[in-house]
Symmetry: C3
Subunit: 159 residues, 3 copies
């Protein structure tokens, strides 16, 4: 492991950490900025992912579609008095080219309701393509592959 | 990212890792040593934290108060046959000055009862001030910001 | 922290990350390759571990025994339609010698059933001896110390 590899790895960790902090603090308006303009973002089940089925619970093919999704979530204006907490671990670089990485990571999202009840909300892994862009690393592709086939929520929130 | 930044980041991770290991092994007598003498330690809810309310479930303004708390917990001598396991991830350096860092991190604490039952005990984030002291980095301030408003426990244990 | 220390630490993280990815993707045939030929692998409870009791839920004293265990699991051919997700954090180097490390880490395993139900499956810590071998770091010893005394499963799967 040389110095450039170490720096790249820690930069990648920082990307995931910032991503989780953005979602957990409900700063959804900043969420699309983690992606490139022509990004692909998808939430799908492990079952569908392994079967090669293209679509998912959420499917977007540009940063603008992500912005639209956030607007829709805000407009729906459903008061969901819960908090989400992302635990991301096991970040792996599967392939590295100049300015481009394929990375995977495990995630667990815990939901806390206003009355204090806590539940496991989602577990799975990210299968991502990360590229070096202006302002640092960004997601050119992100597959959120859920271990379960369904997710208990009124609205499909970003994961 | 230069070498000093990388080293600092890994030292910070070590601090959180050692902190979690201390609590999970019930080595509470060593817990105050993670703090400076004039530290501020607080456990509060996200709701109170965001509203700027100063107090919390636990509030201490010195290392000695932390020692007193541990003594009180030991004297209470309530046999609580459970184990706690901390998962800490997403350590972020929010601000760095010479010998001082503002850092945040996500945590999840799982409780296992003697009969094998497991539950999500607490989730939230640490909002910390870390300073370089004799013997390495220490917490000068630690806000344990819980996602829930309450916590299911007989005694307010350190988190 | 010098450069060699940093590199070693990140190599160790990679070992745990690869280990978790192997188990979570049900690539059990590759699991024994994370161990040396004369390895010791054990799954035990914290209670037994602290009492110094030698045996456990699973006890193996060679890589071949691990291979046999995987064969037995495959032959049993019980269709268990669940997925496991490992969250590993708090990797600590307890002792470092030339080509050998004693390391501990916290883990949480979440199980997702085919119907979408999720549960905390296991929490605890790894108490490991890691050695530098051909092809990178391997486990010469791994104690999987569970916080609970029992584990809810038909078959003792690798952890």
């Amino acid at each position: 492991m040389d110095f450039a590899e170490i720096a790249r790895r820690l930069e990648l960790e920082t990307l995931y950490t910032d991503y989780a902090a953005c979602l957990d603090s409900d700063a959804l308006e900043r969420w699309p900025e983690f992606f490139t303009e022509d990004c692909r973002y998808r939430v799908t089940s492990a079952e569908n992912y392994e079967a090669g089925l293209p679509l998912g619970l959420i499917y977007a093919t540009s940063q603008n579609m992500l912005r639209d999704r956030v607007s829709a979530l805000r407009d729906a204006n459903i008061y969901e008095p819960q908090r989400y907490r992302h635990l991301i671990s096991g970040i792996r670089i599967e392939r590295a080219d100049a300015g481009m990485l394929d990375a995977t990571a495990n995630f667990l999202v815990v939901r806390t309701m206003q009355d204090g009840g806590m539940m496991l909300f989602a577990a799975g892994r990210y299968v991502d393509r990360v590229v070096r862009a202006e302002g640092g690393w960004k997601f050119a592709g992100k597959d959120v592959v859920l271990d379960s086939r369904q997710i208990d929520t009124l609205l499909a929130i970003p994961l």
